[in-house]
Symmetry: C2
């Protein structure tokens, strides 16, 4: 079968419009506003909410089209959201072309998986490549994530997804043959050991170029917390410079395009509040592989309301992580920890930063549980990397912390990353008090995390929850159990409303 | 645990802004534009892409927030998309309040299903209620649809989903104890029998208040085709009036809130290009139950590129549909038909309407396959409803069509629905021709449907594909096999590009 005239190479001829910056923040989503009656919409048959391909020079972005019927937008204009404007690298009055995007072939692979097939290496490569290229709408992204969660990825698929995620981004390489790294599985509020572990390990002469993520479903990720103390959006050159100079860094992984698909997938998982084993393994390890890590310690807290709830689940997850890590040549050790209650006092970026600073500075009131966990992880990593004999890593880590070398190293890392700064303090606070005297017998990690999120964390850096009670401590009636911190009265009220509707966040039983 | 002051009953105090209509068409999506520095954004801690609750009097809608940093929007204004404006029923200068929406509790049920649990009746009721209430974002909707497709719904879940979908909308009730209905499983382009079956059945004195859907993943649904001949967006009062007067109607189901969740779910399935058995059964039957149907004929075309590809699949689907239908007291008969190639000549709303009109008018060149299938279905329905003895329904149907009663009834139904009109003709056409002489041995239903969709169907009513060849017919080299119809040059080029890249749409073998 043939057409009577050969069609043009492009699906349709591009149409040129004057780009206009109108200062609309749509976050990640690229949006273009065009007049409904403009020649492009008419000739291309575009309707509102179509996805359209915008091109400016060598750059392109797929955007959601909204159509304007008033004189807000002229007929020869295309008004762009900030996200679209920046991705196209436009100047005022620049010219863009608008056309139909090609069909996204890899969506057929997503459909196949929904209908029961496994995904091949090539299929996952094409899916992840299209995800990174911005070709998937939220509907498509959510479907891919959900299909891989509802019928979990098998080992081969996890390997292939990890590989595809690494290949879709940049990679770091290091002169040192030992590149240390750590990762916490998360789910435990306040478990902010990285800013303590990195300076200890770096102070001992090891290389530890740590990239961390922002929060997925939690009130703070390490990058969120670290950002309250120093810039974390380092590019590859910055990371190399900081690590060459100081031996370590604590940077946001998303700014360096290490596994850039991960950040897209994480945004969807966050909206769905899900975080499955296969995607978690691929998420964690794709970052580590792309970062050039060779020795990795995994922190897996276990507790009834932590992400991992039983020793069996921890073993299964550890086995999955180790199997994939070893397949990529990364030496790995898993450290199972107590996940019954939050670590430290603060939950939320700035509140956790104050805990970190207290430990590094050796303050008398520093949270001892945070200190102990950081030393355990640093010790395991020092041993794995061969910098201390088996069984002596933790002692060496404690010495490095206690003699001030870790604190000095942390300050130098912050300066090298762009300058140390003081974490913000919240503007609106309210304590939650014990209704009766008694003993604290349960702290629900999930509910306390939700409380911190409703208060504004992690987007509002100073927001969150400050715990005053630990499991087993005795309290009197009316004594504050925790304080909710917020940056606006609306969010404070929102969090307090949740607290009053959920009395089981911190349970006190009469003695 | 208690807060020191009782929080206000609402999660946060509502904030009042002047509503401004700016004429932005975002289709179904409700969008609100507010200044980033306005008091509401600041005090509530809103960031771009947050979902916010808008209230005006008794009405409310959950909208996506975009933040403006220029003077496009004043600090005391909230500019609304047309969808949000219309749902709030606003007048110019009206006042709206903006606040955080309550957390969507039913999303926990969606997560449970992802993690392996079945959904209870109550869970499905709360999910569907929230879906209809607009509380689910596209990410949430896509996750629900995908979770129910990846691990298919079981019989109990399908029953519960069907029930929940019926309960979430309006219901029709009829004086007649026999209410006839039909449904085609779809997947077969051009299979547009409803506008022929309804007037035959109604002309025989039976009651047939037919509500149809728009296209899901196909180039035309019955409502899309019918709309080119008469208005289909009838409200409940309209439907009752038309049916009381003429015995039948052919209306769009979505306009009457019969199973309104169905239209939301269909939009997601369309974007994903999936259509699973459980959701299909719930979709079909929830509409029938809500429409008050008592006797139902199901048309299931079977062919290698139809939706149902084998006799076994047809039996399984029939069994599933019949089991659920019977559970709701609907007498059902399944008619398996030939699904090897499209029915009739036209594929696309208006092109199919011309086929329907040719059959109803008894035109010499009317497509005989469309006529035969419509008579088979009408005959089966007449027998099931007791209006003809077994084995004589089809003959009675043919008489009613041939003596002009059906055509007269169709015209009266169109007039009662708001006035008969002439389907539009396309403005841009191009034939696809045979590259060699030979015999047509394959027509790919899926590819020809995709070709029609790329040409603009169903949104562009006149767009689609007109077939000139049937399976087994002989063609000479250069003879047109079909003609692509479009309403814009861009879409015509887009479809032709696909055709040239996919030579197997209509296969000709040398004789």
């Amino acid at each position: 079968m043939s057409t009577t005239n050969t069609p043009k190479p492009a699906p349709s001829g591009p149409h040129r419009l004057r780009a206009r910056r109108i200062g609309i923040d749509t976050q990640y989503e690229a949006v273009v506003f065009m007049h409904k009656e403009c020649s492009v919409c008419r000739s291309e048959g575009f309707t509102a909410h179509n996805r359209v391909l915008l091109r400016a020079g060598e750059r392109h972005v797929i955007a959601t089209l909204y159509q304007v019927t008033t004189d807000l937008i002229a007929h020869d204009e295309a008004a762009l959201s900030e996200s679209a404007w920046l991705r196209l690298g436009l100047q005022d009055g620049g010219i863009i072309s608008v056309s139909h995007p090609d069909p996204v072939e890899s969506l057929g692979q997503v459909r196949s998986r929904i209908y029961g097939k496994q995904l091949s290496d090539a299929a996952l490569r094409s899916i992840i490549s299209d995800v990174v290229d911005g070709k998937y709408s939220d509907i498509h992204l959510s479907s891919f994530v959900t299909a891989c969660a509802t019928r979990p990825l098998d080992h081969r698929e996890i390997l292939a997804l990890t590989k595809a995620m690494v290949e879709a981004g940049d990679k770091l390489s290091w002169k040192s043959s030992v590149v240390a790294d750590k990762h916490s599985v998360g789910g435990l509020p306040g478990n902010r050991t990285t800013p303590i572990v990195v300076p200890i390990v770096a102070a001992l002469g090891l290389t530890m170029p740590k990239t961390s993520s922002r929060a997925i479903t939690s009130p703070a990720g390490t990058a969120d917390t670290m950002e309250t103390m120093a810039p974390v959006e380092l590019d590859i050159a910055d990371i190399h410079r900081v690590v060459e100079q100081e031996g370590g860094c604590i940077a946001w992984g998303g700014a360096v395009r290490l596994s850039p698909a991960d950040d897209v997938i994480i945004r969807i998982e966050r909206a769905l509040d899900i975080d499955t084993e296969g995607q978690m393994i691929a998420s964690v390890l794709s970052k580590k592989i792309a970062a050039g890590s060779t020795h990795l310690v995994l922190d897996v807290p276990v507790g009834p309301t932590a992400k991992v709830r039983s020793a069996e689940s921890a073993d299964a997850l550890s086995a999955g992580l180790m199997a994939v890590a070893e397949a990529f040549g990364i030496r790995t050790r898993v450290t199972i920890g107590d996940g019954q209650q939050p670590i430290g006092r603060g939950i939320g970026p700035a509140l956790e930063a104050y805990d970190v600073l207290a430990v590094l500075q050796g303050a008398k009131d520093a949270p001892q549980d945070l200190r102990a966990r950081a030393l355990a992880l640093a010790g395991a990593l020092i041993e794995l990397a061969g910098a201390a004999p088996e069984g002596q890593g933790e002692t060496l880590a404690a010495q490095t912390l206690d003699d001030g070398r870790a604190w000095a190293k942390f300050q130098r890392i912050c300066e090298a990353q762009g300058g140390m700064r003081k974490p913000p303090r919240s503007t609106h606070r309210r304590p939650l008090v014990a209704e009766r005297a008694g003993r604290v017998f349960e702290i629900d990690n999930r509910k306390i995390a939700k409380l911190a999120k409703l208060a504004g964390a992690p987007d509002d850096k100073a927001a969150g929850v400050e715990l005053h009670a630990r499991l087993g401590s005795s309290v009197s009636a009316g004594q504050p159990l925790c304080t909710v911190h917020a940056e606006s009265p609306g969010e404070l009220a929102y969090a307090l409303h949740y607290a009053s509707a959920n009395p089981g966040i911190i349970r006190v039983e009469e003695q």
